[in-house]
């Protein structure tokens, strides 16, 4: 492991921002600390950087315990949430600052700063001040400023929060490309799961100071280990029970159910592909159809509960009030009276022996 946090605890008064956080990230990987606001993810990042001191636990970078090493000596580049560019310095001076305070050779410094400016594609804007730049350009400067001294680890605190939605997507791709180009290990904090899924090799999900789950985006999506993760990732409906649904009679009373749109299949009565599974379906009425660009989002009333699912635009058209067959092939179960319990998958018993992924 290149970067490791071991049993990190941190309290601010009564508020526990980190409750024994443990994780490690391999060299060259990009990890996301993902969680709702106030979950403690920024605190964890700041402890890693040395901007905040943990109450207990160890921070290890490249096999070395850095607990007592000040932030400036940890070899870390940090991109602040609002970039914290020096308002009274030009783009050039902003990027050169780190080298200047380290008393780098003037000639080399100039070369390195210019190299950075051309890397981020801001040639010609060296003499501008931060308030003369767009949000995206500011982020580029912040990125260049963070990596100019060649740090081994790059930390980014909500790198896209200050940018409007339109430019955000484009910048995500840019940042990913840059980080791969530079080949630097990086960790970023975000509350946006799309961002985490798109950028990160590993996602670390934080909630109320706890590490809920760590893994690749796919594994977190497909195998959520805790009720929180099951809720937080993807869109989902939560139901108190599934009474009246065929194939789910075996669910213990008291357990709650999380249903994702992709667990729900909706088709017309005369559908050919699912004709052998008609016995396992329920009748549902379309309550709402929302156009989502490349697909439709259907809200179905089934056995007195509302389920959400998606439908490809390539399929036959449907209308509100239409009766459809609804196949629920699996759900997540959890027990919210028992925090220790992991979320589990429960498959529709009527589909035993059927591989739904093959259909």
């Amino acid at each position: 492991m290149y970067v490791e946090m071991r049993k990190i605890c941190k309290k601010f008064g009564d508020y526990e921002a980190a409750k024994s956080i443990d994780f490690g990230i391999e060299k060259g990987k990009m990890a996301a600390l993902l969680g709702p606001s106030g979950s403690g993810k920024t605190t964890i990042l700041r402890i890693l950087a040395g901007l905040e001191k943990q109450d207990s636990g160890d921070v290890i970078i490249e096999g070395r315990v850095v607990n007592d090493i000040p932030a400036s000596k940890r070899g870390i580049g940090f991109v602040f949430q609002n970039y914290a560019l020096f308002r009274y310095m030009t783009v050039y001076d902003n990027i050169a600052f780190g080298l200047k305070v380290q008393k780098a050779d003037k000639h080399q410094m100039k070369e390195r700063v210019n190299e950075m400016i051309s890397l981020i594609g801001l040639e010609g804007l060296e003499k501008r001040y931060p308030d003369q730049l767009s949000g995206g350009q500011r982020q580029r400067v912040a990125f260049a400023r963070a990596i100019v001294p060649n740090p081994q680890l790059l930390l980014l605190d909500e790198p896209f929060a200050a940018i409007d939605a339109k430019v955000r997507k484009e910048l995500r791709a840019w940042l990913k490309e840059m980080i791969e180009k530079v080949g630097i290990t990086s960790i970023f904090v975000t509350h946006d799961q799309d961002e985490a899924v798109e950028l990160a090799d590993d996602i670390i999900i934080i909630n109320e100071g706890n590490l809920e789950q760590m893994g690749s985006p796919v594994s977190i999506y497909k195998h959520p280990e805790t009720p929180f993760v099951a809720h937080f990732i993807g869109t989902s409906n939560t139901l108190d029970n599934l009474s009246g649904f065929k194939g789910f009679e075996g669910i213990e009373a008291g357990k709650k159910v999380i249903i994702r749109p992709e667990f729900v299949e909706v088709f017309k009565n005369d559908n050919q592909r699912f004709k052998n599974l008609m016995d396992a379906t329920e009748e549902g009425i379309i309550k709402k159809i929302a156009f989502r660009g490349s697909y439709l989002e259907l809200t179905m009333l089934v056995n007195g509960v509302l389920l959400t699912t998606t439908r490809s635009l390539e399929r036959r058209s449907v209308s509100v009030g239409e009766k459809m067959r609804v196949l629920l092939h699996r759900v997540y179960l959890f027990d919210d009276t028992n925090a220790e319990m992991r979320a589990e998958i429960y498959k529709n018993e009527l589909l035993k022996g059927v591989d739904i992924e093959m259909l």
């Binding site: 950087a49 901007l51 932030a71 400036s72 000596k73 870390i76 940090f78 602040f80 609002n82 914290a84 560019l85 020096f86 308002r87 009274y88 310095m89 600052f97 780190g98 305070v101 380290q102 400023r145 001294p149």
Partner: protein, 279 residues
Amino acid sequence: MKERREIIVKWMLIGISFLFFIIMLVLPLLEVIVRALADGWDSYCNAISADHTLSALKVTLIATVIALAVNTVFGLAAAWALTKFDFFGRNVLSTLIDIPFSISPVIAGLAFIMTFGRSGWMAPVLDWINQTLGTDIALVFSVPGVVLATIFVTFPFVSREIIPILYAQGSDEEEAAALMGAKGFTIFRKITFPHIKWGLLYGMILCTARAFGEFGAVYAISKTRGETFTLPLEIDALYMTGSADSITQAFAVSSLLVAMAVVILIGKNIVEYYGRKRK
């Protein structure tokens, strides 16, 4: 109908403001100039070059320069402490800074006498210092006392100007600089100072203006004309003498203070102009 009423209100407010301004400020100040020159140019020059006047001018300048220097340093330190650190007693300190604004300056002067005077509880400490160092420093009825009183009444100006700027700025930029390895003084010089430059200058100007004109606190602690009197005290003394000549002299000396005030006012406007432009 509504529009007409608005116009009437507008001109009424403008009229009242101007009337107030003329009666309360312009006419009295003109009166000072007119009275100062009532006995002609020669006697005006004599009045402002009299020994007592020059001594008072000197004391005023000494007190102002020292108060300005001390309050700039302490104001910066206090503003920095209040905005960048979270510590026990922060709110108390924040309130204490404003005391000179809320307390009558005379009380401040009297408090100094009670503390440092012959029967004050600090007197033995002062005696001990004087004996040990072989000095002869007296704080009450002396120039150092005048300086102290001036420092006291002008204390809040610098810090009160900077605190809102530092609050608004937050500490992100400083943190970023520290992370890159910059040390405390470099951070202050390169990052913080450019932000507070104009506010600081503005605070210093207000501090200077107040130090020139301070009367109450200095009055309590300064009793020797020609030695520890400041310009406002000298004016008061001349005026209280009551003869026609000395009253004219009082106005002549007053015109000095008015001139200093005008210079400060111009400086203040220049600073405000550039401060706004930079934003």
